[in-house]
Structure formats: structure tokens, C-alpha cells
Amino acid sequence: MSSKKLNVALVGNPNTGKTSLFNQLTGLTQKVGNYPGITVDKKQGTCNLLDGSSAIITDLPGTYSINPTSLDESIVLETLLNNEGKEYPDLVIVVAEVENLKRNLLLFTQVKDLKIPTILVINMVDQMERKGISLDVAKLESILKTKIVLTSARKKDGIENVKEAISKYTECDVNPLFSISEKIDEAYFKEVKSSLRGFSLYKSWLLITQKNHVSFISEASKHIIDKFKVDREKLKKYQHKETIYRYQYINEVLKKTYSIDRTNGTDLRSTLDKVLTHKIFGYVIFTSILLLMFQSVFDWASVPMDYIDVFFSDLSAWSKENLPEGVFYDLFSEGIIPGIGGIVIFIPQIAILFLFVAVLEETGYMSRVVFLMDKIMRRFGMSGKSVIPLISGTACAIPAIMATRNIGGWKDRLITILVTPFTTCSARLPVYAIIIALIIPEGRVLGVFSLQGLVLMALYALGFASAIISAYILNKVLKVDSKNFFIVEMPNYKLPSLKNIFFDVIEKTKAFVLGAGKIILAISIVLWFLASNGTDDFQNAEKIIAEKSVGKNLNQDDLESEIASYKLENSYIGVMGKIIEPAISPLGYDWKIGIALISSFAAREVFVGTLSTIYSVGSDDEGTIKQRMAAEVNPDTGEKRFNFPAGMSLLVFYAFAMQCMGTLAIVKRETKSWKWPVFQLVGMGLLAYVSALITFTILK
């Protein structure tokens, strides 16, 4: 074989087990990257074939048709049309599900007509007997002019046959099945053919009928295509005719090869549907699942989080003792190690949330939630599909905002994007946790509910409520023209596959940690620098304090801590904190909290780390961050700095403020303008400031 590896693309409807097949073929070799210029995940892996060679498998986004309705789906079209591109496949595997073969074959006939070598994998054949399905494979192969492989990807049945078919890809028949020109309008298609000579007729037709131009065609071709695009009504009409003809063809084919005895099936689907979408039980079950989810995030995650916490503080202490003195000594032990620790500690919570979302999606339950919630969400200007981003937003707004892509209408989607950052993401948790621990006593209410837990629940409720209320307002205010079309497949219920969920959780958690980790690491280095360098007064701190304390008879320890706090006050970051102090003192904060607020605009979770850096720079005190915060005193009043009014005001501020660069960046990318992220930053910032001001003023 040549040195160039075989490129294989997996294409198929959602819920056909395409991902299971991908996982079986590639296993641990899979990697997630990005398509150039857009943020759609590109999943690739290597598959070892039986003859010793290997193939690169790309799992393209699931789609019902080659005509895309979303950004993710448009990747399929772009990849399959660009025959000069690096991603252009040598072979396409269309994955179909045996029970829904009719609809799945629509996509197959479209792909087959592109004249790329194509094989058809019919998956979930282990269901055939139970569902009373019989299939004449040999006949279907000869009619569809293709190699067909039957699999049950989850049970690993048929995987070897897929591999064998991949190695024999050169034997594939590349003749198209269907000729659009004859039946629809011969004269019109003749004109298309003669105008766009570089492409096959079907490819030209696809290029003409897309709303947006594909990225790779020349200006000259775009010009010709634009001429055909003018008569949109005709294009629509012909697209409809094409779909009808394709279905007619498929029906005839299946009449000869496929039969299903509906009386045979034990109908699990309808029984479960009756319960899960019941007008009372449906909502009760959904609420219970949400409660279970949040409960687990706190309960299951707390043990590993404690270990991670201890590990990083030990590591920091160890590095202080064992690294050679110098600039890097401080940078490592006071900047980088706490910085990395600050992100690693989130992994358990994030992973558990992703695990729940993955299970809900795998089982098919998520579609039922969309079905249950659509009408309710619509009153607030969103769609049933907005529920998924709002739930994922409790892990992290970044993947949540990416998950808004399958919301059809632009207005629904925009509102969902704008309000998702209100949901309590896991980055707010450490801030909430430490402040709650400082200001709320440990008692129990009615002997059962922990008071601190209830406050945390209330903050979650506040997050959802503010998301919903702002959506309601935005819905009234925003003048966005958008055609909305809602169609949600209700897939069969399935037991979740451990392998699929494992890969899904690993992949998403990794993406989060690497993405957020980079920012947090950079911020902690910058912070460390700003805190360990400063004005002339900073440089001469030892001398100034020594002069001031002449005659005061301070011991060595007190002298050192005087110097350290003087240094912090005159470091660059101290100066910045002092500058904003007048603006934040009405909220009950001092310049040290001001520093934490400034750095939190990069990412909220930096708050705790920053305070711990601020209070620990130069101090050898081994107390925990919580003890240090509790010991802080407001010099004006003599009261504790983190007392009840100031703490509540901070909680409210963090609930509302848009403090996350990562989210702003993703909103900019998804809305293709700076207008909306700036709107979020300013709007949520003002809301946070005003609400914190009111809170502090009332409670003070």
C-alpha cells in the first residue's frame, strides 16, 4: 500500500449507533480536533485493518440529510464536496439503523450520488428478530449497487466485516443511483450542467441549493452559482420533487427487500413514552433527575476534590522546600502550582455533570425532555432545545453555548446564548462554597437540611430564575427576524453504552480542562508577576518599614509580616486594587477583594486562588485560605471583612456578573459579532453591581 493512509468518513443519521461503530473501530486512538476556522469538533481515530495496513476514520456530525440545517451538519456537505481538500474521504461509510432503514436510506442515496466509493453499514441488526424485521441483503446490495455490512456495533458483531469491507474499498461501484435531471426538468439541468463544467451535475445542484457558499469554490464558480440562486422558489420546488422521488425510489426498493411484522414487537417505546411524557409523572421524573444530578455533583465529587486539594497544597509546600531559590521558585510554588490546582479541582464535578448529560442523551430521554419543555420554554422566548444548554450550563457555559447550535430559530438560539451564563456554572462553586462557609452558620433547618446547603440551592435557583426572567425580557425587547422551525427526532430508548459514555466524558472533560486551564494558568502567572513587582515603595519596602518601626521593638516575625503587607499594598496589583476601591467600597469590598474581582473577569474561579495568592505572598503561614479570610478585619469598623452583608453582596455579585473570558470568546464566535458579548459583559456587570449594592445597603 502507498504511504498515504486511507481516509474513511462515517456518515449517518443521529441515533443510528454511528458513534458506537466509531468507538469500536478506533478505540483509544481517537482524538478530537477542530475544523479550521470553526469550532465544530472533529473526531478522528486510527483503525487497524486485517491486512496490517491502517485507515484514518473521521466521525462526521450526525445528519438526516446532506442538505444541512445547522453549522455542525454543514461539515458533512463541505467534507464530501471538496475533492481537493485534505479531509476528502477515499471511502464513505453510511451508517443506518435497521428499524429506520427507510429514512436512513435517503441520506445514503444522496451520498451515493456523489460518486465517492460508499459502503452501507446496517446497524442494530440484533434487534431484527425481536422487531419482526426481515431483510434480503444480497438483493438490496445489487439494487443499491453497494457493499452492505450488517453490524451490532455495541455487541462488537460485524466489526471485522466492516474492516474487511474498508480494505476492499477499490471494488466499490461508484455509479450514482438516481439522476435528478430526467424526472424534474431536463432543460433546466442541461443548462446547469453546461454552465458548471468542473463539477458533476449532482454536485452542482447541491452547490446551487445551499443557502451559503461552501468555502472552497473559486470566485468564478460562485458567480455562476449566484445566477442560478436567483430563482429561489424554483430551487425549493425542485428540491421537494427530488426528495419525493428519492423516497419513491426507496419505497420501491424496500418493498422488494425489507419487511417488518409490527405485531411482533414488544412495545417498550410506547410504554416508556406514556410514563416519561405523562402530564404529571413526566415533570416529576424530570425534576427528580435534576435533583439527583445536583446531589451527585456535590456528594460524589467532594471526596476526590478533597484529595486533589490536599495534593496540590502538599505539592506547593514540597516545592517551596525542595526547589532552588530564585525567580522560578516563587513562580512555581506561588503561581503555577496553585493555578493548576485551581483547575484540576473542578474535574470531578465537571466529569459527573458531563456523565449525566451523556447518559440522558444516550438513552434517548433528552428528546423527551425537549418534548415536555418546549411549550414552557417558548413562553420565555426559547425552545425546548434550550433545556439542554441550560442544564449543561451548570457544568460550564462554554460547551453549553456550543450546544445551542441545534436550536433552529436564530432568535431562540440568541436568547439561549445570552442567558446561559446566568446558570450556576461550576466555576462559581468554589467562590460560593468559601463565602457560604464564612458567613452562614453550620446549623440545620428542621433537623434535616443543612443551612449552608440550602443557601447553595437558593443560589442555583437564583441562577435559573435570572436566566428565565432575562430571557422573557429579551424576548419582548429584541427585534430579531427569524424563521423558526422545530423538529425533534424521538429515538428508540436504549440502554446507555458504557464505552460511548466513557469516551464522551473523557473527551469533553479534557477539552474543558485544556481550554480553561490555559487561561487560568496564564492569569495566575500574570497575577503572580503583578503581585511580586511594584512601585519604588515596593522595592524599598524593607528599608521603609525598618525606618518606621524604629523604637517600636518589633520581633522578627511581626517585622516580616509588616513588610509583606506593605509590599502587597505597593505592588502593581495593589495599586490597581486601590484605584477601584472607591467604586466597590459601597458594595462592602476593600482593595484586596477588588484585586480578586479584577482577576475574576478572566475566570470566576480565579477569585479564591487570587485571594489565596494575595494573602500568602510572602507569608509562611500554613493556615488554609478559609482561615486567612476569616481572620481579615475591616480597619474602619473593626468588624470582620467577610461578614454577613459583605459576603451576601459578593454572592449576589458573582451570581450575576459575566466574569469569564472563555465564554465571551465563544459567544463572539457563535454570534459572529462583538455586539453580543459586549452586551452580556456590560448588562450582566451592571445588574451585578446594582444588585450587590442593594444587598449590601439593606443588610448593613
Partner: protein
Amino acid sequence: MIHTVANLQRGEKGIIEELSFDEIPLALMEMGCIPGKEVTLIQFSPLKDPLYIDVNGSHFAIRRETAERIILVKRLCDEL
């Protein structure tokens, strides 16, 4: 009265006569909603919207406003 998917009873079937949209969504046809095909209304959402249907073996949910535009062949009893 025009007979549409929106006025089917739960479990009732009908045959699609035409799709009466200003601009028929291609995705709807690609999911299998094509004149001549049989539709079964499987379930209403608790608030009567969206509707969960089975067309031609393909199960999906659409909103009432869409369902109202999927016109069905008249029922026999309507004509009598």
C-alpha cells in the same frame, strides 16, 4: 373544516394530502412527511404542544403550528 395533523386524536391515523406552507421546510419532507404517507399521532405534550408523530416509521415531534399545516385526506365520517 380542514383536517390536519393538529386535530388528530391520540393514536389516530391519517394520510397526508398536502403540506400548506408559504415555504415548505425541506427538513420536514426529508424526515418523511410526504403527501400520500400515513401519519399516526402518538402523543401530545402535556400542554398540547408539541405533537409527537410517527410518519412512515420515523418518529419525531413537531409544534402545533407546523402540524396545522400538514393537511390530511378527509376522514370518511367528515364527508357523510
